[in-house]
């Protein structure tokens, strides 16, 4: 029992720390792109996330009078819990909390539950802006979840396993990115839409919706939403490095690095890519986003899945 708790803490504490410093990295990279200095006051900018977190926790918690109080407090907790639970099945160099043969399916099943947090949180705060943001985010996440689920199955087809460790071992000579490069690009776009990142951050479009589903939230619940969003981003970059970049195999990166470092470095490069996109691209319109999902990505990805399955059936 104690060992299990230590195992969970060994995962949760580094995740929270990495979320904190991801925000710092994001601000620094965006500042560099926009030729600014970024955060540079508190410990030369290094302790800025800690100061921000402290500020958030000290703030007053305001609960809307006519909202549903129980759901209002429950939604951020659910969102954070779901995004932390996903780490149970993700491997770190042959080690994960639970070694499941159905890890990919468990991952997809748990990550599909995170919509509830947003939807209930937006509805319970009894505000038009929050509700519209929640509805938008829910429809966006559902449509792109479908595409992501299909795209994950490309790696599953070529690895012939539902276990993440097997999928990485299957890429010992060539990473999946080489075979599936166009699919990898669609995967990146779908991740951006799924995690509500910038070209698709229509849930938090400031000009239209103030701040989306988290308008009414302040203090710790807001911090929960914030941490969960960034955790989801880290999870998806981690999964990208597992499914397409070859995990801890030395494929793209130089040989002298230890395997775990190269694994983490790959996911970090994906994260930097997301931040780069945030600093450069303008926002999409909502109907364009959904048309992209349902009219272009879904039929093409479905056709590609069938073609890949048929090719594997013929060749194996």
């Amino acid at each position: 029992m104690l060992l299990l708790i230590i195992k969970f803490l060994l995962i949760i504490i580094p995740i929270l720390l990495s979320v904190a410093f991801l925000t710092l990295v994001e601000r620094k990279v965006m500042a560099a792109i926009q030729i600014r200095r970024g955060p540079n006051v508190i410990g030369f900018g290094f302790f800025q996330p800690l100061a921000d977190g402290l500020k958030l926790l000290i703030k007053e918690l305001i609960i809307p009078l006519k909202g549903n109080k129980l759901l209002f407090m429950f939604a951020p907790v659910l969102f954070l819990a779901v995004s932390l639970t996903i780490w149970v099945v993700l491997p770190f160099k042959n080690v994960s909390v639970s070694q499941s043969n159905l890890a990919v399916l468990v991952f997809l099943a748990i990550s599909s539950l995170s919509v509830y947090g947003l939807l209930l949180g937006g509805w319970a705060s009894n505000s038009r802006y929050a509700f519209l943001g929640a509805v938008r985010s829910a429809s966006q996440m559902i449509s792109y979840e479908l595409i992501l689920g299909l795209l994950v199955f490309f790696a599953v087809i070529s690895g012939i396993s539902y276990n993440f460790v097997d999928l990485i071992k299957a890429q010992h000579s060539t990473a999946n990115i080489i075979f599936y490069f166009p699919i990898f690009l669609i995967f990146l776009v779908a991740i951006l839409a799924e995690t509500n990142r910038t070209p698709f951050d229509l849930t938090e479009a400031e000009a239209e919706l103030v701040a989306g589903y988290s308008v009414e939230y302040s203090s710790a619940p807001f911090a929960f939403f914030f941490i969960a969003e960034y955790t989801n981003l880290i999870i998806w970059s981690h999964v990208t490095s597992i499914l397409f970049l070859g995990g801890w195999n030395y494929l793209i990166l130089p040989f002298f690095l230890p395997p775990f470092i190269s694994f983490v470095l790959k996911s970090f490069l994906v994260l930097i890519f997301f931040i780069w996109i945030r600093a450069t691209l303008p926002r999409y319109r909502f109907d364009q986003l959904l048309q992209l999902a349902w009219r272009f990505y879904l039929p093409s990805v479905l056709a590609l899945v069938f073609i890949t399955i048929i090719l594997y059936r013929i060749t194996l």
Binding site: L102, L105, L119, V135, E145
Partner: protein
């Protein structure tokens, strides 16, 4: 296993009885989760996780979405059906509820005991359903068809939605 069957029937009655549609949806999510656990117990983990992914992750979200968008808070169906009809169905339901407690153990063969050859989850489960309980399967299919037709015929008139809006307005303004 008996406990899970009992719980699922209990949740079903809760969904039918409750006037608050949000509670009904919560019951539905619990029912799906319950059935997923039931599948885990039957040694069909793949189907269990697929069930969570499809039903809780997608279909229930769509239900929730529609409920939130239409702002339906009160479910008027229970006030429209006649009391005698409802009581007959209720008595039938309760008798099945109690009978499962006593008879389900002898009824159920775990699917992994059913097939000698190791099969995939989906093949095993479908073969199990079609060969061990063909009659129950046919009844379930017929009930599903009836439910589809009823849903189509009731929602084709917008009167239900209008009524529910009026009702919820009445209740929420009186508080």
């Amino acid at each position: 296993m008996t406990f899970f069957i009992f719980l699922s029937l209990l949740l079903l009655t809760f969904i039918l009885i409750t006037p608050n549609i949000m509670h009904g949806l919560l019951g539905l999510i619990l029912l799906f989760g319950n059935f997923a656990l039931f599948l885990f117990l039957l040694d069909l983990p793949f189907l269990g996780f697929a069930y969570i992914l499809v039903y809780i992750g997608a279909i229930c979200v769509l239900f929730l979405y529609i409920i939130l968008l239409l702002n339906l808070r009160i479910y008027p169906l229970i006030m429209r059906t006649s009391f005698y009809f409802a009581s007959v169905i209720g008595i039938l339901f309760i008798t099945t509820l109690i009978s499962t407690l006593f008879f389900s153990k002898s009824l159920l063969i775990p699917p992994y005991k059913y097939s000698i050859i190791p099969l995939e989850d989906l093949t095993l489960y479908t073969q199990y359903l079609f060969e061990a309980y063909p009659l129950y399967l046919l009844v379930a299919i017929f009930l599903l068809l009836v439910a589809l037709i009823i849903a189509l015929s009731t929602t084709s008139t917008m009167a239900y939605i209008e009524d529910s809006r009026k009702l919820s307005k009445k209740i929420y303004t009186s508080n």
